[in-house]
């Protein structure tokens, strides 16, 4: 298999195959001798050059993170032959940005109105969960195009609260 792996803003070309329990691995055209075993769901033991590593996987409906030691890497894995992947690679960096609820909770305050100009990092709404009130901040400088959330509403993780463009 050939993958393009996007990690922390860098893209790696990974060529990986397995035959008779042995792995063949090339990363950015560099041959690496690896041994890999999945010790349980979401946990991988990898041996490289005598060094042992444990990698843990966190997966949600939205994204994939891999932990190497105490460091959490955001990972996007693409099959470069797939059309969907090539389109996704164009990235969502421009245009409107959605404000996603990071956790389930209740909207206790809405601090802006549709049409307001906001700065990156400015608080737009306050969500309460676990007895704590938390400000949800704007992901970018722009104009509040849409405000879906209303005071008093319950929201789930992943719900779109507002759109800033």
């Amino acid at each position: 298999m050939i993958y393009d792996v996007l990690i922390d803003g860098m893209t790696y070309r990974l060529e990986l195959s397995r035959a008779d329990g042995k792995w063949a691995c090339r990363l950015n055209d560099k041959e690496i001798a690896i041994d890999a075993v999945m010790t349980r769901r979401d946990v991988l033991s990898i041996l490289i050059d005598g060094h042992a590593y444990e990698i843990k996987r966190e997966k949600s409906a939205m994204d994939l993170h891999l932990w190497v030691g105490p460091v959490r890497h955001e990972v996007v894995l693409r099959d470069p032959r797939s059309l969907v992947s090539r389109r996704a690679a164009a990235g969502p960096d421009h245009g409107p940005r959605k404000l996603i609820a990071p956790m389930p909770g209740k909207i206790v305050r809405v601090l802006v109105s549709e049409g307001d100009e906001v700065e990156a990092g400015q608080g737009l709404l306050v969500v309460e969960a676990m007895k704590m009130q938390n400000e949800i901040k704007s992901p970018k400088k722009g104009v509040v195009r849409k405000l879906v959330a209303a005071t008093g509403a319950n929201v789930n993780a992943g719900d779109v609260l507002a759109v800033v463009e």
């Binding site: 460091v71 996007v76 693409r78 992947s85 996704a88 690679a89």
Partner: protein, 505 residues
Amino acid sequence: MGLFKKILVANRGEIAVRVIRACRELGITSVAVYSDVDRASLHVRKADEAYGLGPAAAAESYLNIGKILDAAKRSGADAIHPGYGFLSENAKFAQACAQAGIKFIGPTAAAMEMMGSKTRARQHMEKAGVPFVPGTSRGLESPEEGELVAEKIGYPIMLKAAAGGGGKGMRLVHSNAELKAALEGARSEAQRAFGDAEVYIEKAIINPRHIEMQILADEHGNTVYLGERECSIQRRHQKVLEEAPSPVVDADMRRRMGEVAVRVAQAAGYTNAGTIEFLVDADKNFYFLEMNTRLQVEHPVTELTTGLDLVHLQIRIAAGERLPFAQEDVLIRGHAIECRIYAEDPDNNFFPSPGKITLLLLPSGPGIRRDSGMYEGWTVPIDYDPLLAKLIGYGTNREQAIARLIRALNEYFVGGIKTNMLLFRRILHDPDFQAGKLDTGYLDRLLKKEEDRTAVDGKGAELAAIAAGVFAILDPASGADTSSRHPEASVPSQWKRAGREESLR
């Protein structure tokens, strides 16, 4: 009379599990109570019996005295352990238990009431010769009275709510000019938080240490102290990491603090387990702050350094037994440190992070104790305090306890939700922490420092890249091509995408 036959645990989370375990060890049947969102929680799984209380809101479940007593009667429990938080320091609840003929495992309602008001406690303790931070022992009548007192004891001063706790209704004041507004603010906050606007003045001790003394008192007049806990590492007045013994307390200071703590307990007619909190200034002067009339979250560090089981002893004392040892039998051995694992994200202003725990890897080995209320596959509800578990490291000395904790934190992994686990690595590696240079401003200072991210190198990313491919090959069913799961990439066509963007404008 023997020990109880059946104990109802009026709590949830790790402390309910802790008490249920003690019941099992003592051969006592345990009864859990749970709200609708806690049906699948660990304490319900571990108990012998369980009764539903109703809706998630604490007022309709864990704080509802009528429902809890109802469950106690239905189950035939002869005692109730309140844990910490919820009803544990509610004198009305203790009273209601007594009236229902059910033993409340804790102090009497009268002792609780005396200690529940900081001003009333202060009046009693002054008579008992307990050292106080200079200030008033009753609520302020007016800003003018406040100015007089403040000038007498000297600025800066602290305004505090008499019914307070958790930092609510507190104001630091530097001059007369600030006093009036601060008093109004503290009063209205106290009224809102506790239904009581009484506010008093204390001299402010800037960045004190927060050190507390554990006591146990039986119902036959015997009271002992079990050594101190250093609790200076706090964020927004909430403890994060505690240890025993304190790096600054020597045997002589421990004895003096312990004797004051015993005097406090005896002046209040106190029984069962309790904790006397002290502020300690830079010259190691200690001042009585308040008494917590319950088992503390951080009780395990005392258990590890004394070899005693505080919950067993609470149950024995409540059953009328005498303390099985005297003060001179209490020996402090080794060092213990507790990390409070919270479901919150330290990289994002300690945002709460409820949700499903998708992966849980547990530490073990020498000197490690874990008191936990979570399990893999459990969904952390949004409705309660975010404390998930406590990881406690024990060693012959402080250095070994630190090393064991760092090692155990490497083994511990909670996936699917954010936790504050990485914060403990920072604290435990910090030279000031290792030198024992602690005060209540410590954690804020540490968090302001730029974090050393040198550990983040390209090698980790390369490993992650390889691992991503290996996972995709070995476990193809769970998302080989994550790009198709990426929300921004899930739009099937550019036309639809453009259309949707259009409709959002």
